[in-house]
């Protein structure tokens, strides 16, 4: 087990270094720079600003300086904003995290509910309705769903604010929009698995014992039926927490998604590289945790020494 953790972490560091290197090179190869703008500055001013960030040094020097900082855990200073990359992540990641966790919570509860309902009332109008909702969730992008939610929930009904993460209420609509796509997938997984489970022998036994239909579905069926959903939640959580530019933008949640996109267009080299390193690190750790959790849940996939 320890060997697995150590080797996975070592691999993770190699991945981080590779990501940082590729991002660094690609960004510096892209046309334009952090200080090119529509209204051009006097050459002397431009020069002094670029000097401040050592942009006139040879590329290999800039690269070794950046990687040296990275090795010490220093993600550098934004070239466009008066703060360090570390400060940006520290301040804005909690917004993305809150939104992501609420979205995954919504997806898990709502998706499971739909799936179980559909399975319990297989091939009735309840099933069709629930699966249509799931299909809508999967197929309509948040780009469309978001404005529709704002139109009805905020502008017409006034239940939620039209934008901004102003208290928990502000997160409701964006979390639902963001979670709906995952809810759809979860609903379909849960339905298929529940149908299989409800046909199992032990369920027939339970029914024969005279357990009510509600008890059969919710007490006996749900436990086993949810296993595929649980294994899906791991990667889905990682994906959701890493922020959604579109949903964050539509609802003006000041999460990290904005910085991802903005640092590309404004060529803010340290911010983009830093964010990528942060997320890749986050994913490496998250995947490791999911793998360990699998082993704990199911002895059959518990990690053993590779066969010779």
């Amino acid at each position: 087990m320890l060997r697995l953790i150590v080797s996975r972490l070592a691999g993770g560091v190699a991945v981080l270094a590779a990501v940082a290197t590729i991002t660094f090179l690609l960004l510096h190869a892209a046309p334009g720079g952090p200080f090119s703008r529509e209204r051009r500055l006097q050459p002397a001013v431009q020069r002094n600003i670029e000097d401040r960030y050592h942009l006139h040094d040879p590329l290999w020097q800039q690269y070794t300086r950046y990687m040296g900082g990275l090795a010490r855990g220093d993600l550098g200073h934004s070239m466009k904003r008066p703060e360090t990359v570390g400060a940006i992540i520290k301040r804005h990641f909690p917004y993305s995290l809150t939104l992501g966790l609420m979205a995954i919570g919504f997806a898990a509860v709502f998706g499971t509910l739909l799936g179980v309902l559909a399975a319990a009332r297989k091939n009735t109008w309840v099933d069709y309705a629930a699966m249509s909702v799931a299909l809508i969730g999967i197929s309509i992008p948040s780009l469309v769903l978001g404005p529709i939610a704002i139109r009805y929930l905020a502008l017409e009904l006034g239940w939620v604010p039209a934008a901004r993460a102003d208290g928990v209420v502000g997160y409701l609509a964006p979390a639902a929009v963001l979670g709906l796509i995952y809810a759809g997938t979860i609903a379909r997984l849960a339905r298929a698995s529940m149908i299989e489970t409800l046909g199992a022998d032990y369920i027939r036994t339970a029914r024969a014992k005279g357990v009510s239909e509600r008890g059969v579905v919710w007490r006996h069926g749900l436990r086993l039926g949810l296993l595929p959903v649980v294994s899906y939640l791991g990667p889905a959580t990682a994906g959701l927490i890493s922020g959604s530019f579109v949903v964050e933008k539509i609802f003006q949640i000041p999460g990290l998604g904005f910085y991802f996109v903005d640092s590309v267009t404004s060529r803010d080299y340290p911010v983009l590289t830093g964010l990528l390193v942060f997320y890749v690190g986050f994913l490496v750790v998250a995947n490791l945790l999911v793998d360990l959790a699998y082993g704990w849940l199911d002895p059959r996939i518990r990690h053993s020494e590779p066969a010779a």
Partner: protein, 729 residues
């Protein structure tokens, strides 16, 4: 994923389905506290630091936080601020500002002329690398200072007396230009054999906030007791130094502690600057010009004889309330620049400790009508009334909440649901405009207004590829500007002239007299100084299909094989308006001139890069001015080799007229020269003017004290909310 898609869809959902007819856009909430206001800004400010902030998202906040020698009045033109009065020299090369003695920083300390001088030095110093240094490009020796080649002789050397201002031409026998990317040895570099305690001027060493280890290099920025710097509090000379450590730190130390000068022995060739660049030097303008043309001999000295000090700049502090600033050449805007961002003083103590992050609420010290209480980046800022502002009666607000909303649909929706009392100019999606201008029973909503904005939208023509003037004229003459507002739906003012302004038909009677026009004169005019000075741009090449075709025929004959078979029109992606305009141009050039036009959308940075490197034929561009100064803000950018001259157009007659203007001290005569130059510009058509921008505003009917002006420059602290607005309607 682009903003365009987002806003379009948001608009479809929000407005496309139709809103009930009503007088106002959204419900008008009841006013609880008249002295609070929520303002929806168009995004997160780039930086609150007057040396760094540039975008329109920061200016209204910066002006609320930082006082200026002059400030902007309700009409957006400069009026007295920190300076209650000023004297301008007849040749307009010098202005003496008299500061109000009651001016205070938010921490209670007096705000003096020394603080303003410090800000000028800070903005121009190479280590600050301020993006706003451009706006001080008239100050004596600003460029040489910015490029770190201006020096003052600290002792007699090379036959020149101490105090002479010189420029470096070569170091160690190598001309300055040949040093390339390596910086020549800096005479201001110092070391100390003992640890240096960086502190406030005159403070005890125990009050140090940073300690420089022995033998680490620091750079001298200022010395106490010089013409532009603070006097020494004791008998010693103090040095204000920069230590390049972490994000950098500045501080004062007694100068005698700096006992090492690692670069002292390097040989430097210098040349004294011309008399017109010498601070404090007066004289007849004709004599000064003659002197500037005379060659001056180079002499060789060493770095030990030299320092780069603020006194090389045209800044002198006479006393705590008197500041003199000087330009090399006659500068009509010398007083008005007192309102610019670059000249708004910043607090030295806070900046020294945290040069890059001092604007955080915990460390910021301000001087304006409001102070910063909270800042949640990309979410909101809270500004509250400053207890130390020099004119408390001017401040109507106790609390101002600024929401940073970078999504236009979100901004309009927040207004609709009653969250914002007013929305920053133009933070409304293109797709909402139609509904906003017809929602009130076919008329615009009463809280939606459109007004002219000091910006101009045009296309640039690459004159290296389209070097034939007849071709450029043909392209210009084929466009009917009067139709633009019809499809952009924002009341855009379609004109063929270049410098923007207010439509002449909308001017007041007083402004009409100042501008020397009648109400029926077509076009726009720019009032520079109410009742005194006005600029009416020369008419451009108006829509004339017959003349366009004639010019085209001539171009074909002259260009022969080089005549383009197809024109590629480039524009940047992300804005619906650019696409609509490009499609209109495509249709016009095809219909009128029978030239095929291919449209090419580019990502912003790629677009900037291509237009800069002349990798284009015709491209869209716009230019927003920040002051009523046609020469500096609009005409001058088309000089030969100017960094923003993207058409690479070069016309000696145009440059000569601007050169002549630059020597003139009579503002009206000077404007006439500028106008003659602009006439050449529009006739030669390196740019194709299309329209004057408008500002689209949403503002609740109960908001008072926030009038529109040409600069979209709201003085937010003067606003308040009227609970009895319905009675006063």
């Amino acid at each position: 994923m682009t903003r365009r898609h987002l806003t379009t869809l948001a608009a479809l959902a929000a407005v496309g389905c139709g809103l009930p007819d009503s007088e106002y856009f959204g419900k008008v909430p009841a006013v609880d506290d008249p002295h609070t206001l929520t303002w929806c800004n168009s995004g997160e400010p780039d930086s609150l630091d007057p040396a760094e902030g540039q975008s329109t998202t920061v200016t209204p906040i910066m002006y609320a936080l930082f006082d200026g020698l002059l400030v902007f009045g309700d009409d957006g033109l400069p009026v007295a601020g920190l300076a209650s009065r000023w004297d301008v020299a007849p040749d307009q090369r010098r202005v003496t500002f008299h500061l109000r003695p009651e001016a205070r920083w938010s921490d209670g300390r007096p705000l003096t002329a020394y603080d303003v001088a410090y800000q000028l030095v800070r903005v121009l110093h190479p280590l600050t690398a301020s993006v706003n240094a451009d706006s001080l490009d008239w100050l004596k020796n600003n460029l040489a200072y910015l490029e770190n080649r201006a020096r003052v002789l600290v002792r007699d050397a090379g036959g020149l007396p101490a105090g002479t201002i010189v420029e470096v031409t070569a170091v160690d026998g190598k001309p300055l230009a040949d040093w390339g990317d390596t910086a020549p040895p800096d005479p201001n570099q110092r070391t100390a054999s003992r640890a240096l305690a960086l502190r406030d001027l005159g403070a005890d060493a125990t009050a140090a906030y940073a300690t420089v280890p022995p033998r680490a290099a620091v750079t001298i920025v200022e010395l106490s007791g010089r013409p532009a710097t603070l006097p020494s509090p004791d008998a010693r000379t103090w040095a204000y130094v920069h230590w390049d450590h972490g994000l950098g730190v500045y501080g004062w130390v007694p100068a005698d502690e700096l006992d090492g000068a690692p670069t002292a022995d390097h040989r430097v060739r210098v040349v004294p600057v011309a008399a017109k660049h010498v601070p404090g030097k007066d004289g007849a303008w004709a004599d000064l010009q003659a002197d500037a043309a005379r060659p001056r001999a180079e002499v060789e000295v060493t770095n030990a004889d030299l320092l780069m000090l603020p006194e090389v700049l045209g800044i002198r502090v006479v006393d705590a309330q008197t500041l003199v600033v000087e330009a090399s050449d006659p500068t009509p805007s010398i007083v008005a620049t007192g309102a610019s961002r670059a000249m708004r003083p910043t607090p030295r103590a806070a900046v020294s400790r945290h040069p890059r992050t001092w604007t955080a609420p915990a460390t910021i010290v301000t001087s304006g009508p409001m102070r910063l209480a909270e800042h949640a980046p990309r979410d909101h800022l809270t500004l509250v009334r400053s207890a130390t502002y020099r004119d408390p009666a001017e401040v109507k607000l106790d609390r101002l909440t600024v929401l940073s909303i970078d999504e236009q649909a979100a901004s309009a929706n927040l207004y609709f649901t009653g969250v914002c009392d007013a929305v920053a100019a133009n933070n409304i999606p293109q797709s909402y405009l139609a509904a906003l201008s017809t929602g009130n029973h076919g008329k615009p909503y009463r809280d939606y207004t459109v007004a002219p904005y000091l910006g101009t939208y045009f296309a640039v023509v690459n004159t290296k590829r389209f070097d034939n003037v007849h071709l450029r004229r043909a392209l210009t003459l084929a466009l009917d500007r009067s139709r633009i507002a019809g499809f952009l739906r924002g009341g855009e003012i379609g004109v063929a002239s270049y410098t923007p302004g207010t439509p002449i038909a909308d001017l007041t009677d007083e402004d009409l007299r100042t501008c020397g026009v009648t109400r029926t004169t077509p076009g726009v005019a720019l009032v520079i100084e109410r009742g005194k000075l006005c600029y009416v741009p020369p008419p451009g090449l108006e829509f004339d299909p017959d003349r366009a075709r004639a010019e085209l025929a001539q171009a074909k004959a002259e260009m022969g094989d080089r005549f383009p078979k197809e024109i590629v029109y480039k524009f940047n992606i992300g804005f619906e308006a650019h696409k609509l305009v490009s499609e209109y141009i495509q249709a016009q050039w095809q219909d009128v001139l029978h030239i095929g036009v291919r449209l090419e959308q580019q990502e912003w940075q790629v677009f900037l890069n291509d237009t800069r490197q002349l990798e284009y034929q015709v491209a869209r561009l716009g230019w927003i001015g920040s002051a009523a100064d046609p020469e500096v803000e609009f005409v001058r950018i088309w000089r030969c080799g100017s960094p923003n001259n993207r058409p690479a157009w070069c016309n000696p007659a145009f440059d000569a007229l601007l050169d002549e203007a630059a020597q003139m001290t009579d503002p009206a005569a000077r404007l006439a020269k500028v106008r003659a130059a602009e006439a050449i510009l529009v006739e030669e058509a390196p740019i194709i003017p299309m329209f004057v921008y408008t500002q689209k505003n949403l503002q609740r009917p109960y908001v008072r004290g926030l009038p529109e002006n040409l600069f979209a420059q709201p003085s937010l602290w003067r606003a308040w909310r009227d609970p009895d607005w319905r009675q006063r309607r």
